[in-house]
Homo-oligomer: 247 residues x 2
DNA sequence: AGCGAAGGATGGAAGACCAAACCTTTTCTT
DNA sequence: AAGAAAAGGTTTGGTCTTCCATCCTTCGCT
């Protein structure tokens, strides 16, 4: 008894577990390492590129310079960036980049939820891009698709351009939040798929989907774009499903 | 010069602004207030419901008891919960709830991005629910839809059940992360639309869409579900567009 | 030679968070 | 009626993070 005496509405059901799930308290230091590290791993900050000066960057990130320096020190020790002193110096992205480290157990355990979340972002982006993308956006993305065709024999190069394309789609929505979510999602995906072989045939068919997608966007055919993107994302998911433990 | 000497790849384009955007360092205290407060405002923790004991809740949330108590004190002072002492006591959700406070300027300034993000989550949920929802899930959601029909004259009651339905969809995907994202998105939407009049006719037509959606899910017709959900979400967006400053 | 712009380093103050107690109130059990 | 048990309420001390301000070192440019 007790439970039966409550008001008979659906509102008295048990709350979702998510309500009491652990609070994720990332420190500013951790978040900065994550943000910059992901941008580098995704190639958004290209090898050789110069980061803004520390005194400028810390204000842009809204943190103290000492905190930023902690993060940069970590990235220096991991070999992702290096710094030169004196006038004309600065902090630069290493070239070549250090080898990526294998995905953590925690990452692998949640791979399906990661893919689910990515699916959501990609679908939202594609629907909004169908509405909002202008000619120039799509032309630029076509250019990236051309580059992808030339990279089906080099997975690293392909992946870089692939990320450019997906982030570029997000940018075409003019929604900064979706761009952020997309980069986070792609960062997690990179961790997952970085260690998996992708034969050229797979990459080629993947880029066929990119082209179909861009064609649909040009016609502002949101539903067709959704269908293509859905297949595109779930193709990756099926590859992972065969190689990873059940999620 | 300089820029022209770099490697001629798309990877040398400027990084998205998102890379250097301010780092959001929410404290554990703030996040806890937010999490519990949102769950209460959404009705996931119903008026009169008892929260877990402090000693248990703090371990579930992964924070110290003193931090949890800070959050509970804040929620007590704002009138959302109250506590009774002694054995058999506990912390309970207030009934009735205090009036919601108006959306912040910052919230209003970002309303379109909030809607964009919500669209993404809803679409992802709906595609995955079409694959994964079992009979029992859909039966329960049908029940909620019936309740919604009975609440088109009471916006508050309607909104509560509406949230139940959307969060229920997310739960049907068996993806905890999507449930979390959905609750966050609905929390932000509640802030936005709480102060807007919703005539019964609007609510009725909204629930027609719910029914179409559930029918599509029963047939596992993901594309139709996407189309319905897309219209459902964008209907809200159009209402907001008429009332809020340009986003 | 020296100015200026960049990274590098230090020390202290403030605040958030945690852990472990202990206190007070109330109810249930014996 | 006594006491155990379970809940919220309180205090304290310590650790870690972050911030701020200042100063140092390097080195290209004028």
């Amino acid at each position: 008894m007790g439970r039966a005496e409550e008001r008979l509405t659906a509102a008295t059901l048990d709350p979702p577990d998510a309500v009491f799930a652990p609070v994720r308290s990332q420190t500013a230091f951790e978040e900065t390492v994550d943000r910059l590290g992901t941008a580098i791993k995704l190639g958004l900050l290209a090898p050789g590129a110069q980061l803004p000066a520390e005194r400028e960057l810390c204000t842009r990130l809204g943190i103290a310079r000492s905190t930023l320096r902690q993060a940069l020190t970590a990235l220096t020790q991991s070999g992702h960036v290096f710094a030169t002193r004196g006038r004309g110096g600065g902090t630069f992205v290493s070239d070549p980049q250090p080898p990526a480290d294998p995905p953590s157990a925690q990452m692998l355990a949640q791979w399906r939820e990661t893919c689910d979340q990515r699916l959501a972002i990609e679908l939202g982006v594609v629907v909004l891009a169908a509405e909002r993308a202008v000619r120039a956006d799509l032309d630029a993305l076509d250019e990236v698709a051309r580059m992808l065709d030339g990279s089906i024999d080099d997975f690293t190069a392909y992946r870089q351009a692939d990320i450019r394309l997906h982030v570029g789609l997000a940018e075409a929505t003019r929604s900064a939040r979706l761009v952020r979510d997309m980069t986070e999602a792609q960062g997690e995906m990179t961790d997952l798929i970085g260690y998996i072989a992708h034969p050229p045939a797979v990459l080629a068919s993947s880029n066929v989907q990119h082209r179909q997608l861009l064609a649909a966007l040009r016609e502002r055919d949101a539903m067709r774009a959704v269908r293509v993107m859905s297949e595109h994302v779930q193709a990756t998911e099926h590859i992972l499903a065969g190689l990873l433990p059940v999620g």
